[in-house]
Subunit: 315 residues, 2 copies
């Protein structure tokens, strides 16, 4: 059984031919060309599907699409996706049906990463888990009893905008002091810049003081691996904050497995161990049993695999 | 159809004969006599059930019991209830079956208040809502699609221990800066004491400066009703903090109706309006539609009614 998994972003479209048993068979990327408007982007999506069709002799079960913006409860429609000018409320399912003849469903990226992990990755081992995708921002998805927990309207799991300090740092969200302000790539790099600026002898300063925007959290991590104490401290600080947010997720949901995925998550032990320690410190003892934070290795494939699962499972 | 609803506390047992359609028909209280140990308290529970049997000619569907402590997923067993010395892990269902012949199920108080509101109170109007019980502490219960959301082990909804300031006030929980530290009766009164101490001319100072432990949040509310600006400020401050916690619940669960119940909640508009304002200020705009905070008027009956629902619905 095969399906098309697509990840629609403001700059690029990623697409994959996915086999339900074997995973991703082929994948490719193409520019979104979002500036050319709604109809053009829908045409690009249809092109991606046609290309996927051409890669296989089997019929496709359908199309799953990961998209920014607010997703409708029936997974047909996207509203106000950031970075896609001219999109207000778009019934992607209907548009794709007309353009490709296939049934399409849409879901947000972090939910698809959770679904992908549940069906193809580390998440297979857990009935319920909390997925955190660490990238430019911090996304979240909740798997409960092997299904996505979507809340009343489909918007559950906005885990990056959970407040850990109501007086704290602002991110681009309203939820000042939300964990994303401490942990998203943009914010982690910015916070790191402040700390690095105080140590002009540090290798991180030497490499990045003229252009902190180039500072990737992965670089901080590689420095930490070399024993750079400043780098270790930066990641430890971010990890501790993550632990507080995790306490909030666990106390509300009583779901005790946390799976990290995405770019910043590559900081691995430097981030995860401090998070585990601060979470345990603040978590009520009756929630400790079974608590764990693990790392999903599927990377960007998680969302594409999750997208295909929408089609395989008629979600 | 009738059932026994029981609320087991460290000092008192409340019990009610509940009719599924008409609600509470009769109710009474008796001392728990917890210091006399486990067997004695189980005997007291059985006495309460026998008394309820004597109040009706109909057969009872079963017994629902609200209890402190950690409740097992199958709702038979309680572990480590605070304020009940000698209780480690107790299979209340088996004990009650042996002593009364009836099927019993147990659940935590705040979850039962949520269930009671869903079946008999304001919650009847909502498929999904977040119940907050404000008393000595702050309890929580989550109703999703008309059922309790209980998480992986039955412990979901520990909403009082959700962190809003990781550097913040300590309550009796590990979750320093948890909302309970700002809003539970004990903590609200303590915080109020600090503010009141600075205004020796205020009526609240005159009445309570010799014994702040007598200061009930309801008193602060009554003063607020009289236009006492200090009282209004105290409640506004607590309400604002509550709003931040509510943002966390809503962003995680996408459940947009919050129902307040219990003693402190009587502060009504003085607490709810500031909570609504601060929640809206920090909540992502896409979550605003349908967001509301309302007050449950069932009071202590909510938990007894919820307890009986365990029996009516074979939960």
């Amino acid at each position: 059984m095969q399906a098309a998994g697509i990840d629609l972003g403001g700059t690029g479209i990623k697409a994959a031919l996915v086999d339900r048993k074997r995973g991703i068979l082929e994948q490719f990327s193409m520019p979104t060309e979002a500036d050319k408007g709604l109809d053009h982007v829908l045409g690009r999506l249809a092109e991606a599907v046609e290309k996927i069709k051409s890669l296989t002799d089997e019929p496709l079960q359908g199309i799953g699409i990961g998209s920014p913006g607010v997703i409708s409860l029936d997974r047909t429609t996207v509203s106000h996706p950031p970075n896609l000018p001219g999109w207000l409320t778009v019934d992607i399912a209907r548009e794709m049906k007309e353009r490709t003849g296939l049934t399409a469903r849409v879901e947000n990226d972090a939910n698809l990463a959770a679904l992908g992990s549940s069906r193809f990755g580390k998440g297979q081992d857990y009935d319920s888990f909390i997925m955190l995708t660490l990238g430019t921002g911090l996304g979240g998805g909740i798997i409960f009893n092997r299904e996505l927990f979507r809340g009343s309207t489909g918007a559950a799991g906005e885990l990056g905008h959970v407040i850990i300090d109501y007086n704290g740092l602002a991110s681009n969200s309203r939820a000042r002091g939300g964990i994303e302000a401490y942990l998203g790539q943009r914010f982690l790099s910015r916070n790191a810049a402040v700390a690095i600026h105080k140590e002009p002898d540090n290798p991180l300063y030497k490499r990045f003081h003229q252009n902190f925007e180039d500072l990737d959290p992965l670089e901080i991590c590689l420095e930490a691996d070399k024993g750079n104490q400043l780098a270790i401290r930066i990641l430890q600080d971010a990890g501790e904050k993550l632990g507080y947010a995790i306490v909030n997720y666990v106390h509300i949901l009583d779901i005790r497995t946390v799976i990290l995925s995405g770019g910043v998550a590559k900081a691995g032990k430097w981030l995860i161990e401090p998070a585990r320690i601060s979470a345990i410190e603040r978590m009520m003892p009756s929630y400790h049993e079974g608590f764990d934070i693990i790392y999903e290795k599927l990377g960007n494939s998680a969302a594409l695999l999750g997208a295909s699962s929408l089609a395989f499972e008629n979600l």
